[in-house]
């Protein structure tokens, strides 16, 4: 049997990463990102791309069947195009499988978000809560789920608010040299501790802001990838997992995120990673809430449970540390572009691995882990192992 076909990212494009993008509609934003990705990959979408995947959710768009608007901006008219109602990385997983199966050679994946168009983001999040058991409780703010998780995590593993503040300070600083990081800032841990609570124990600075962005990836099978580019970034493994009980309270393991562990394990199995703690040169992990960065590191088996906080204190997770975590600044610096969040994280990793991260570049990085969560009230996580070799 021939060796299984490898799959590579051959082009990336992005637009936005600003709190508001009044100059474009969501469709124009998709077009801008797609045009850049196709240019980057050196492909003509009308002849060279075999299939198109758009990632979006109806309620964010305010359109009952948002899929209708997927094909034109990304070049998918009268071609195999579909929508994945999920995070961009779940779309990337579908593209990976389509290429892996041999049915297609080149697939484009698009994800976008325009939260600046949404007047009531939190109210729409509320509609994701279980309509029978949870919504009637009248909890007006789905962020309470994150707060409960944060509390449970901190109590179980002896993590203090000071640790969370260190995460915020590190990431917002890392973002200062990242052109996509609208929320980068020189923030001291004390500033975080002094900021007003949104939901105890999370302050305004512990929670990443929403941002407008569109991201497009072009992936290709091995032979085509090598023809298209001399700097392919290989997808060595991808994993995704959903816990039962999204929008519910009864089954979740508070203070943990089992879906992250499952997603990471699935990706590691595919990539043949046996000791993740020293497999990666840097990682881009979930940090839409400060505590999740520490939890992600542990769920991905990069550190034993409960030990990420001390690594953080020791400076191990800094850009110059032994395991740089979110050198891009993460969501705390570049924001949360709804369903494009996972792809945005992967974008940062791809640019690093290609050596194109500009002033943000780390030296000699070859392998990275990307780990993203869809945010509360979901329990879906996606992991991606990328390599430049």
């Amino acid at each position: 049997m021939p060796p299984p076909r490898r799959v590579a990212v051959v082009g990336v494009g992005w637009y936005g990463f600003r709190p508001a993008t009044p100059e474009v509609s969501f469709r124009e934003m998709m077009f801008e990102a797609a045009a850049r990705a196709y240019e980057d990959a050196g492909v003509n979408p009308r002849t060279d791309v075999d299939a198109f995947i758009s990632c979006q959710e109806d309620f964010w768009e305010g359109i009952a069947i948002a899929d209708e608007f997927a094909p034109e901006p990304i070049g998918g008219v009268l071609r195999p195009t579909l929508t994945v109602a999920g995070d961009g990385l779940q779309g990337l997983a579908q593209a990976y499988m389509l290429v892996k199966s041999g049915y297609f050679d080149v697939v484009a994946v698009e994800a976008h978000a325009k939260p600046s168009d949404i007047a009531t983001v939190q109210e729409i999040y509320e509609l994701a809560l279980d309509p029978v058991y949870v919504r009637p409780l009248g909890v007006r703010n789905p962020l309470f789920l994150a707060a409960l998780d944060a509390r449970a995590y901190m109590e179980t593993y002896g993590v203090a608010r000071e640790h969370l503040a260190l995460v915020v300070s590190k990431n917002k600083r890392n973002g200062l040299s990242n052109p996509r990081a609208s929320f980068a800032a020189r923030v001291e841990p004390e500033d975080v501790l002094k900021a007003p609570y949104v939901v105890e124990p999370l302050t305004r600075l512990d929670i990443a802001s929403f941002v407008d962005a569109a991201v497009v990836f072009v992936v290709a099978g091995e032979e085509v990838a090598k023809r298209l580019t001399d700097r392919p970034v290989w997808i060595e493994g991808v994993g995704w997992s959903t816990e039962a009980g999204t929008g519910s309270l009864q089954w979740h393991a508070w203070g943990r995120m089992p879906s992250m562990r499952d997603a990471a394990d699935m990706a590691y199995r595919m990539a043949g990673v046996s000791s993740p703690a020293n497999a990666f040169d840097f990682v881009e992990v979930e940090d839409r809430f400060s505590y999740v960065e520490l939890l992600s590191i542990e769920e991905a088996r990069l550190a034993p449970l409960g030990s990420a906080a001390s690594m953080l204190e020791a400076g191990d997770l800094d850009r110059g540390g032994y395991l740089p975590v979110n050198p891009s600044g993460g969501s705390l610096a570049f924001g949360v572009p709804l369903e494009a969040t996972g792809l945005a994280r992967a974008l940062e990793a791809v640019l690093q691995l290609r050596g194109e991260a500009g002033p943000n570049q780390l030296s000699g990085v070859k392998r990275a882990l990307v780990l993203s969560w869809r945010g509360p009230p979901t329990y879906t996580s996606i992991a991606l192992v990328l390599s430049s070799e």
């Binding site: 959710e57 094909p71 279980d130 089992p258």
Partner: protein
């Protein structure tokens, strides 16, 4: 488009399940999805622990009234499974098994549970209200269009271009509602005549009440598996031979409304993968998408099972009857069984599965069957999804 016809991994459908299709089911969306999934797993001889991955399909979230609806329905798979939701509007039902196919064909999963669910009835005052939000928010929504308007335009165009009369098109409704009499889950089965259709209430001329499928709640599920797993569980796996899907542009008003080009493209893709060159001869049984009676004719032509503008003539000859040359919608289709959008598409694939296994009971078609095709259609008259199965 250059689909590689040399996909190595064979993928089989080994189980199917279906809830009743009804208006105002008492079960929650989650419970409906679970009921269908449980049946599908039982018919495959599996339990949840045998399922590697899950694919979920549900059309507008607004029907269930839940944001991130795929996450809400993910409970159907039990805890901690790789789960994804695919979405192409009304075409979602057939997209779900297509996505399940690539999960297995890529070697990433060995077994996939594919579930389609829709609960349309809770929408107030009427589910049509949800369709007020499918239009371009700037150019079309301010005009206050109704979904049935554009289908009336399409039906009128088909009648004009193909010389079909209301009486000819009504025959599809008569056939499908009659076929559904033998379907245990059917919602709108009936013995009606062409007269009944022509005398039913006019909604938007030329669309009348009996030209159109009902508002439904329901769920349907399939189990797909790799060849080695399928052989362990069953002696009669039904193979996925071809898959295809195509999206046209958003601008439905610029389209040839008399012919669904996007369905043809999707069908050509699936036939090519299946090695089918003359579908009108090689396909033994078809489940074309029939939310309206004229749509079945439209889609039979798009699937290249009838020449352009000739499907209505063949219906008149009984060609598409259950004992005809090429049975179409032997299940009773959406007109007869019901139309819980994403679940209806999965139901169509399930019907082909049962027909090819000779397990359709009183719905079993007369002729021997080897290959079948199921198709769905969606979005703003722009999505075609096609799957070819064989025994």
């Amino acid at each position: 488009m250059k689909p590689n016809v040399f996909v190595k991994e064979k993928v089989a459908v080994i189980g199917a399940g279906l809830t009743l299709f009804r208006r105002r089911m008492l079960e929650t969306p989650r419970e409906l999805a679970w009921e269908a999934a449980k049946q599908a797993l039982e018919s495959a001889g599996m339990t949840l622990s045998d399922v590697d991955c899950v694919v979920i399909g549900t059309a507008p979230d607004a029907f269930d009234g839940v944001n991130l609806n795929g996450e809400y329905l993910a409970d159907v798979a039990g805890p901690r499974k790789p789960t994804v939701r695919v979405y192409v509007g009304g075409g979602t039902g057939v997209m779900v098994p297509i996505a399940a196919w690539w999960h297995v064909a890529s070697g990433v999963c060995r077994t996939v549970l594919a579930v389609g669910e829709e609960k349309m009835s809770p929408a107030r005052p009427h589910p049509q209200g949800v369709f007020a939000y499918i239009w371009d928010p700037i150019l079309e929504r301010p005009l206050g269009p109704n979904l049935i308007w554009i289908f009336a335009l399409e039906m009128r165009r088909y009648m004009h271009k193909c010389g079909a009369k209301k009486e000819d098109i009504a025959l599809v409704s008569v056939k499908n509602k009659r076929n559904a009499l033998d379907h245990p889950a059917a919602q709108a089965a009936a013995n009606i005549t062409v007269e009944d259709v022509l005398k039913s209430e006019v909604l938007v001329w030329p669309v009348q009440r009996l030209d159109i499928s009902p508002v439904s709640d329901g769920a349907a599920a399939l189990v797909l598996a790799s060849e080695s797993v399928a052989r362990r569980y069953t002696d009669t796996p039904i193979w996925v031979e071809g898959v295809g899907w195509t999206l046209d542009n958003t601008h439905w008003y610029n389209r040839d409304l008399a012919y669904p080009r996007y369905v043809e493209y999707a069908a050509r893709m699936a036939y090519r993968m299946a090695g089918i060159e003359r579908p009108w001869k090689e396909i033994d049984v078809a489940e074309p998408y029939d939310p309206f009676d004229y749509k079945e004719l439209h889609h039979l032509e798009g699937l290249m099972l009838a020449r352009r503008c000739e499907a209505w003539k063949l219906v008149r000859e009984g060609y598409f009857d259950r004992d005809g040359e090429l049975p179409a919608s032997p299940s009773g289709g959406l007109l007869g069984v019901g139309n819980p959008i994403a679940a209806a598409g999965v139901m169509k694939v399930a019907e082909i599965f049962w027909q090819l296994r000779y397990e359709a009971g009183r719905r079993q078609v007369k002729k021997p069957v080897h290959k079948g095709v199921a198709q769905a259609w969606g979005d703003l008259m722009q999505a075609g999804t096609v799957i070819v199965l064989s025994n």
